[in-house]
């Protein structure tokens, strides 16, 4: 009856042996420290990575319609004889730069700049490498006015069908719609301390626990670490970070990523574009877990027991079973899933 539980996660082809965080004594604390590492201000960003790993880089600017968004950087890069297009978010290294770059939260024109340069990549047969590190797309009124949702959706749409290889790398915060907008790829890689989530842990906690203080609890519940995302099949490959995290050794982190990028570009460039695009479609087509029942549905919803059984089908060793519930159930009071996505 259960025909697909974890999508392609269980049989993904490309993986490293990154184990889930082993801080079994306090998993919540372990997860939260990952989130802090992912947000560390000294963590390398797109431009730092490219400067450290590329033999040549020419940044391009502008969306050709409204502006040049400094929270999104794009350009042409070369590693040895491999030429590719770079797309990535860019947080600031200090307060001034953060203000200029809107704390790495792109407006619609940032995503439209990405779209423009990805179309250029397709036309000139250059593969695309994206660096994803974003708290979320910019949520301000001007962002809504100029269509942040449209820009995200259109970027996702382009990446889903574009006839060139895409390597997507979650390097820091993979924040919701603002992340997936440039994270649709033939292979999705994450740095060890990167996180990826459908909503920020603070936002999730504010909605489900009614206080942002429960953000660590929410972070644990959402399984947002790179290792968890690998297990879910959302991420294909986790790259270990040096020392105490990427921020402690930019050069070594970049060196490791560079090797992976070379490996993946070479692997993907050997695949025909037809097969590549079809496989990419299948990759996302298969993500998401559901069951299919033939029981009569009308006014006879599945019993409590069924739901339990479904949950039992999950590997209890993989999924920490004992997540603490911080308060009593709230009956039928059902908050919907929304704050950022």
């Amino acid at each position: 009856m259960v025909d697909r539980l974890l999508g392609r996660g269980r049989d993904a082809e490309h993986r490293t042996a990154a184990a889930p965080p082993s801080d079994a004594a306090d998993p919540k604390r372990a997860v939260w420290s990952r989130v802090q590492l992912a947000r560390n201000q000294r963590r390398p960003r797109t431009l730092e990575f490219v400067a450290a790993m590329a033999d040549e880089f020419v940044e391009l600017h502008g969306d050709r319609a409204f502006g040049d968004d400094a929270a999104m950087v794009v350009g042409l890069a070369r590693i040895e004889d491999r030429r590719f297009v770079v797309v990535g978010q860019q947080k600031g290294a200090d307060t001034n730069e953060n203000i200029r770059r809107n704390f790495g939260m792109p407006h619609p024109e940032g995503y439209r700049k990405a779209i423009r340069v990805m179309e250029l990549a397709e036309r000139f047969r250059l593969p695309i490498v994206t660096f994803v590190d974003v708290p979320g797309a910019h949520p301000g009124p001007e962002s809504e006015e100029r269509g942040i949702a449209e820009a995200i959706a259109r970027s996702i749409g382009l990446m889903s069908r574009i006839r060139t290889p895409i390597v997507a790398i979650i390097t820091g915060e993979g924040g919701s719609g603002g992340a997936i907008a440039i994270a649709v790829g033939d292979v999705v890689i994450a740095l060890e301390n990167a996180v990826y989530s459908v909503i920020s842990p603070e936002g999730c906690a504010a909605i489900l626990w009614r206080t942002a203080d429960e953000a660590p609890t929410a972070a644990l519940a959402m399984k947002m670490t790179a290792a968890d995302q690998l297990a879910l099949g959302v991420v294909d490959l986790v790259v270990p970070e040096p020392g105490d995290g990427a921020h402690t050794d930019h050069a070594e982190t970049a060196r490791r990523l560079r090797a992976i990028i070379i490996e993946q570009l070479d692997r993907l460039s050997a695949i025909s574009l037809e097969s590549l695009v079809e496989a990419r479609y299948r990759r996302y087509r298969s993500l998401g877990a559901y069951t299919e029942t033939t029981e009569a549905p009308v006014a006879a919803p599945p019993s409590r027991g069924l739901a339990d059984r479904v949950r039992d089908l999950l590997d209890p060793g993989r999924w920490p079973a004992g997540v603490q519930v911080p308060g009593p159930g709230r009956g039928r009071d059902e908050p919907p899933a929304r704050e950022e996505v």
């Binding site: 997936i180 489900l208 087509r285 559901y290 519930v325 919907p336 950022e340 996505v341």
Partner: protein, 325 residues
Amino acid sequence: MPIKLPSFRPRKDAYPPDLWTRCPGCSEMLFNKQLDKANRVCPSCNHHFRLSAAARLEVLLDPGSFRELDAGLQSVDPLGFVDQKAYPDRVVAAQVATGMRDAAIRGIGAIEGTTVSICVMDFGFMGGSMGAVVGEKVTRAAEDATSGRMPLIVVSASGGARMQEGTLALMQLAKTVAAVERLRAAGLPFISLMTDPTTGGVFASYAVLGDVNLAEPNALIGFAGARVSAGTIAQELPPGFQRTEFLFSHGFVDRIVQRAEARAEIAALLRFLVPAPAGAEGADEGGPTLFRPMSFLSSLADRMIGEPDPVPAAGTGQSEESPRG
């Protein structure tokens, strides 16, 4: 002065058997039976109340034309997600309350004689949130439209992605949009009808990507939650922020449609956009070919599960706290 926006939390009285409803638009007390008869549009101020998926299908489709598909799809709990309540318990509670398996119904129907692939969301089921089931239904609706050379109609009513499914819910943005892109490449039309509310990851994926975007009046449509928009940025919100008319004036909605006219509007659009019979040019690769609804439907027969229409006919109640912007 920030605009007060409706909470998404249906109160305990969200599905009461009361006889009367107070209109949030004009404060008049409306007799529920008459409100239902008017397709839940206030006769005095035109406020569009939320509509259940079942009632929506009834309003839009030719009577008796709907055949549900994938009625048996049901959420699982990939993360083992527990907040103040376990996710499976929430799903079951929503199923009990609504009689639906999840927040969308999809199938094949007809609009003024044109066969369409349609998927309709229901805000009453966990805020219309999109998890794997909703994503799968939208995707299958788009895929069936593509393979059957039918138009795709999606009626959105959603708070966004379903947190309890984590990034697997986020991946539904990519899954659904990829399917819509294939439909587009095949030259088939997608008409998106946005209703109150269409927000977050649903707005930022298929809902905004219609060849023609329609929206009901005064619906909440936006990406970020209003608290996020106002709070994070410490900025006043413009008047009518994230309402249909705001979206229209900013270029994201083609037409604001009254509920009573939606069916005729969509039918008119389909007369223009549904592929014509292939002529000399139709021989091109990827070009349209004639749609043969009967052979398509028969090929779907083995996928039909359960009764044609498992959704209770009675409206399943909507939370209505929205002041008119």
